[in-house]
């Protein structure tokens, strides 16, 4: 068992703490196929329905997501197959609005013209934007990749906020382009402090994602309602669908991990809170399903003992434990059957990894990782 105070997940624990200022964060990294973009849109719709957002905001967010995903798919593919070049999409919900971020590699030669376009639309007033849109429409000057800057104009008009962007150099040929839009219910006006924080959020999630080879990153409330939509999203992602047996195993393990959080995670502000983190990582033929959440310190010892015990057993002993546990009388107050970790250990055919990062005197951030070879 690993107890790490400065282990590889301490940066994830720190990110988790920061992201708890938002109600919901999710991100994808990798190949943005049509199927994946459809899934992202479907998940966004589900989540906005759960949050009972107004139709006005839903339409705006939907539009911005579509445009952002188009930007990613339009610009991916031409670059080398390197993780640093992967497309990236993230969405963050905060009180009063949404932040939609995207990222893709861009050739250094194109930075100047892109910056000029962005600066131009950002510099215009609402009235001027309207005029400029007419101008561009009549001139019909499409760029070679099919964009005419019209998308950017619409994004500013729909979101009611300026576009934020940044470039980070990858190598002599390429840079990474970070791009984000903020959608607010009312014209929020500029708030430099919040904007600065938002800007960092997209980048820090992207950094965490590339550093840990993540494909999926989801942080939010793990109540049953959300667990359902998360499952349908993860299940349908093309990444898990390649081999039937692998997909089945992954989803089955995911079900146990997610239920685990919805049953046992400690809240921060109140006891009904179930803040949690779910990630899918891909490392050379091993897919890792990873969860993160707070646990009250008085429950840590029992939890670790349980996982250690499950890990220590060979195939025969673990099967025996499964049968014994299923026949045990169950405490009516406990929803879990005590079979979760046993099942995960059997199905993944690997040891369950645990890492802990201290959070407060009462709570610890705990990372649980199931590795599946494929």
């Amino acid at each position: 068992m690993q107890i790490t105070n400065s282990g590889k997940y301490s940066s994830i624990a720190e990110l988790f703490r920061v992201l708890n200022n938002y109600q919901l964060n999710y991100a994808y990294n990798g190949d943005f196929t049509n199927d994946l973009t459809e899934r992202i849109l479907a998940l966004a719709e589900t989540n906005m329905d759960v949050e009972s957002e107004s139709l006005k905001i839903k339409k705006k967010v939907y539009f911005i997501i579509v445009e952002s995903l188009q930007n990613i798919t339009r610009h991916q593919g031409s670059s080398k197959n390197s993780r640093l070049m992967d497309g990236f999409f993230s969405i963050h919900k905060f009180l009063g609005g949404y932040l939609v971020g995207s990222g893709n590699a861009i050739e250094n030669d194109h930075i100047k013209s892109l910056s000029q376009k962005l600066d131009k639309v950002n510099s215009l007033s609402a009235e001027e934007l309207k005029e400029y849109q007419k101008e561009v429409l009549s001139a019909g000057g499409f760029s070679e990749k099919g964009g005419a800057g019209l998308g950017l104009i619409e994004m500013v008009r729909k979101s009611g906020n300026k576009l934020q962007y940044d470039f980070e150099k990858i190598d002599e040929q390429n840079s990474y382009f970070y791009f984000q839009s903020k959608i607010t219910e009312a014209q929020a006006g500029e708030n430099p402090e919040i904007d600065e924080q938002n800007h960092e959020v997209v980048k820090s999630v992207h950094r965490a994602v590339t550093k840990n080879n993540l494909k999926v990153f989801f942080q939010g409330q793990f109540k049953h309602e959300n667990v359902r939509s998360l499952l349908s999203m993860a299940e349908g992602s093309i990444y898990l669908a390649e081999k039937f047996e692998f997909k089945k195993t992954s989803v089955a393990i995911m079900i146990e991990l997610l239920q685990n959080i919805s049953y046992h995670a400690a809240g921060i502000n109140n006891s009904d809170d179930r803040p949690g983190l779910f990630m899918v990582a891909d490392n050379n033929n091993i897919c890792s399903l990873i969860t993160g959440n707070y646990v009250n310190n008085n429950k840590i010892e029992e939890l670790i003992k349980k996982i250690d015990f499950v890990n220590s057993l060979d195939n025969i002993a673990i099967e025996k434990l499964y049968l014994e546990t299923i026949m045990l009388d169950q405490d009516e107050l406990k929803r879990g059957a005590g079979l979760g970790f046993i099942d995960i250990r059997i199905k993944s055919k690997n040891k369950i990894e645990v890492e802990m990062v201290p959070y407060t005197d009462e709570k610890t951030f705990i990372i649980i990782k199931a590795n599946i070879s494929y």
Binding site: Q259, Y322, I326
Partner: protein
């Protein structure tokens, strides 16, 4: 109560229980928020049926996904039929999707805990 029919949802299974025919079918996904609460009326229905069971009873499961907390309740349900298997015919079909090795193994495990003979069907 002659029948208990529940439509499947995203996270709840389809249930077709019919006392008059002696048929007990559960299929699709069983991922309820609280498995004990969800399965309680199903176990009650089976207990009621077992007061006067048919000569032949057919139980059929075909899960797409099943949470471990549901598996425990399914085991409870199966065990209810154990006592009548000496005098009545009880068929237990454990159906699973083609290639779903995990689901086959779950069935194999449950079979060890009962005197009922499982019939495994890969469909």
């Amino acid at each position: 109560m002659a029948a208990l029919n529940l439509e499947a949802t995203e996270d709840l299974p389809q249930v077709l229980f019919d006392s008059s025919k002696g048929v007990f079918e559960i299929s699709k996904r069983s991922l309820p928020e609280n498995a004990i609460l969800f399965y309680e009326p199903l176990l009650d229905f089976a207990n009621e049926y077992l007061k006067a069971p048919k000569e032949e009873t057919t139980i059929a499961f075909h899960f797409d996904y099943i949470s471990t907390s549901s598996t425990k309740q399914i085991m409870k349900l199966i065990l209810l039929f154990d006592p009548i298997s000496a005098t009545n015919k009880v068929n237990l079909n454990w159906n699973y999707d083609h290639g779903d090795v995990d689901m086959l193994q779950t069935g194999k495990r449950l079979e060890q805990l009962t005197s009922l003979k499982f019939i495994f069907n890969e469909v």
